[in-house]
């Protein structure tokens, strides 16, 4: 635990809390009554607006967080585990008592755009308003109209359980000063309309950066870390760098590869799995082709990255890789092939696959342990699957085969140690 990293921030936090207290007073805000809203109830019922909002809610995968396992869509009722404690995920159906039934559009806009609740209280950034602030007023209105059109579900929120000082909402004033810049997306006139659409979706509603960038010890992503990849806190998966340029996590991916993965769950370069499998199944497969192409265009423009410097190996990597080759021959070669080439459209290649070679080795390790089905999409309704090997292989066997696939063919990543395997073996799946 890199504790030293946040100690220096403590005075900053305290100062900002103090300032926040003085500036914001007691939360400082009252809801806008629906009767006083600039948006009439009739306008919200427009079928075109509701349909647009339904699409945008899919693009943003709102249901992904706002739905409990086995629960009603958008009705919340679960907690989001963060390194700072559990944050309740609210019900966003129009139930008057437990949902957004009494909310006006102005209240909704304040939450989505400014990260503030109805009463002006600062919202925890587990709700990714750091991204959603870029959503346009019109799009936000459509999403609100759609949410208000849902059947109301009575579902009270779970209780928050945050550790001090995170339990003090006002301490978020400091966090916001460090990490949050309020403002709608501003198109870059030097770029094409397609590029701008892609940038808008990726940076805004798609909130890709919330996973695909490293978070620091305060859970923020620094401004210079845009889609450069990072370990997802608590979930322990690595969301890869999304640059297709030199040394990028998607180096060598064509725009079509990106579209394929988002649409079908698979591409010639790799398959979605772990949290991204859920994102593809619930969200990106429903994104229309124009928007997918726009996203691909934007990702294709991300700059090249600095070369990755491998950690010095602390022990003999050669022996572990040799052991791994044997395990690969027994359990993996039948599907992924002798050259790690996979089978087009069925089993992903391992050679040149950034999920295999990402910096931490988490993805390869957990994939070997958990196996699972490729994302189920309209294009692939009966996906093939990979057996879980947690029950069959020891920590040293998993470390050996993970190291082998990371250091063979054209792959040149670090080895995975048995103690890492042991840790990921016990990572909860959600």
């Amino acid at each position: 635990m890199k504790m030293w990293r946040w100690w220096w921030l403590l005075p900053v936090v305290l100062l900002a809390v103090l300032l926040g207290w003085m500036l914001l007073g007691d939360g400082g805000g009252t809801p806008t009554p629906r009767a006083a809203s600039k948006v009439s109830a009739a306008a919200l019922r427009s079928p075109e607006l509701v349909a647009k909002g339904e699409y945008l809610a899919l693009v943003g995968d709102c249901a992904g967080c706002h739905t409990a396992q086995g629960g009603a869509r958008f009705a919340g009722g679960r907690s989001l585990a963060t390194p700072f404690g559990d944050i309740p995920v609210p019900n966003i159906t129009p139930d008057r008592e437990t949902g957004l039934g009494d909310w006006s559009f102005e209240d909704f806009w304040q939450a989505l755009h400014a990260g503030k609740g109805r009463h002006g209280e600062l919202l925890y950034p587990a709700f990714s308003y750091t991204s959603y602030t870029k959503v346009t007023h019109d799009d936000a209105l459509a999403i609100f109209a759609y949410l208000q059109s849902l059947p109301p579900v009575h579902q009270p929120a779970t209780a928050p359980s945050l550790a001090f000082p995170y339990s003090v909402r006002k301490s978020l004033a400091a966090w916001r000063a460090l990490y949050f810049r309020e403002g709608e997306y501003r198109p870059d006139p030097a770029q094409s309309a397609q590029w701008n659409r892609g940038a808008y979706l990726v940076q805004g509603l798609g909130h890709c950066n919330e996973c695909h960038a490293a978070r620091d010890s305060l859970g923020g992503t620094a401004g210079d870390r845009h889609l450069t990849g990072g370990q997802i806190p608590m979930q322990n998966w690595y969301a890869p760098d999304l640059s297709t340029g030199q040394n990028g996590g998607l180096q060598g991916w064509s725009e079509q590869d990106i579209v394929d993965l988002l649409k079908t769950g698979q591409s010639a370069k790799g398959a979605a799995f772990g949290p991204m499998a859920s994102v593809v199944a619930a969200s990106t497969q429903h994104v229309n082709d124009d928007d997918l192409r726009a996203i691909a265009t934007y990702l294709h423009s991300l700059p090249p990255r600095a070369p990755v410097v491998l950690d010095t190996q602390l022990f003999n990597a050669k022996a572990i890789v040799q052991q791994g080759e044997k395990v690969y021959g027994r359990h993996c070669v039948a599907c992924h092939g002798k050259n790690g080439e996979g089978v087009a459209g069925v089993y992903p290649p391992l050679d040149g696959n950034s999920s295999v070679t990402e910096p931490t080795g988490i993805n390869a390790t957990r994939m070997i342990l958990l196996g699972g089905f490729a994302p189920l999409t309209a294009a692939n309704p009966r996906p093939y699957s990979m057996p879980p090997f947690a029950q069959q292989l020891s920590d040293s066997e998993v470390s050996a085969v993970a190291s082998y696939i990371r250091r063979t063919w054209t792959n040149q990543a670090s080895v995975v140690r048995p103690e890492d395997v042991s840790r990921y073996r016990h990572t909860p799946i959600d």
Partner: protein, 256 residues
């Protein structure tokens, strides 16, 4: 349904032929960039069995389970609706077992139904599982619960729902014969700790709550020790009248 999916697959994926001829492999090699690489490429049969490697690695290619270890239950021959329901219950978090929840988390109802039907239609011999040595009195108590229940404690006989021969009843009641001791006792325990549940009214939860610890040992030992009947198929639908109202059997409302 399955036919419609097969049609979709032809357009969406391009699996190699199940047993490529030499000529086909050669033609493929010509198409691909490197001939030697293509010859190494695995051939993948377009079968459900191949698709569900994630299931069969633990439950067996034909759903025979692992009778030796008692850990992974047999799926072969269990009623399809029962199997589909279990996957759904894992999806919804009613049944808790992380590897199963992860594996089935985003499967569609149609795909789960197809997988369930695959295992339901498998016919493989039952294997014997080890049963711990229990006193004769325990085994006798278990036999009593299985065949007659315990009316004083409102515990119905297993056979009253699961069939005379305990081979299950179509479409939703699983057989209890040939299940390992460890599996049965673990499942009854799970109902009591709410890590296994199903749609309300959850009558098995009620039954499990009425069983004492020693009853669970007794009934698990008795079931696991039973000789297999000649016919292990589930009884036809409607051939039993369950004494409890069960959500899985279509009942609604609260428990009696």
């Amino acid at each position: 349904m399955a036919r419609a999916y097969n049609r979709t697959m032809i357009t969406s994926a391009s699996p190699l032929p199940a047993k490529p001829s030499v000529a086909a492999v050669f033609a493929l090699a010509m198409l691909c960039s490197g001939a030697s690489r293509a010859a190494d490429a695995p051939s993948v049969p377009d079968t459900l069995q191949q698709r569900i490697a994630a299931c069969t690695t633990c439950h067996g290619e034909h759903g025979e389970g692992t009778p030796g270890s008692g850990y992974f239950p047999r799926l072969a021959g269990k009623p399809a609706a029962y199997l589909a329901r279990q996957m759904q219950d894992f999806q919804n978090g009613l049944r808790k077992y992380a590897p199963m929840e992860y594996t089935v988390r985003q499967l569609s109802p149609a795909y789960m139904r197809e997988i369930a039907e695959y295992f339901a239609s498998q016919q493989v011999p039952y294997g014997r599982s080890p049963v711990p040595a229990v006193p004769a009195a325990t085994l006798q108590r278990g036999e009593e619960l299985v065949g007659k229940g315990d009316p004083a404690r409102k515990i119905p006989a297993c056979a009253s729902c699961h069939g005379d021969q305990l081979t299950g009843v179509e479409p939703s009641t699983p057989g209890l014969v040939g299940l390992p001791y460890d599996y049965i006792s673990a499942q009854l325990g799970s109902w009591r700790t709410h890590t296994r549940a199903t749609v309300a009214p959850d009558c098995m939860a009620l039954v499990a709550a009425r069983l004492g610890d020693s009853d669970i040992t007794a009934v698990a030992a008795a079931l696991a020790s039973r000789q297999l009947p000649a016919d292990t198929h589930a009884q036809p639908a409607g051939s039993v009248t369950p004494p409890l109202r069960c959500g899985v059997l279509g009942a609604t409302g609260d428990l009696p």
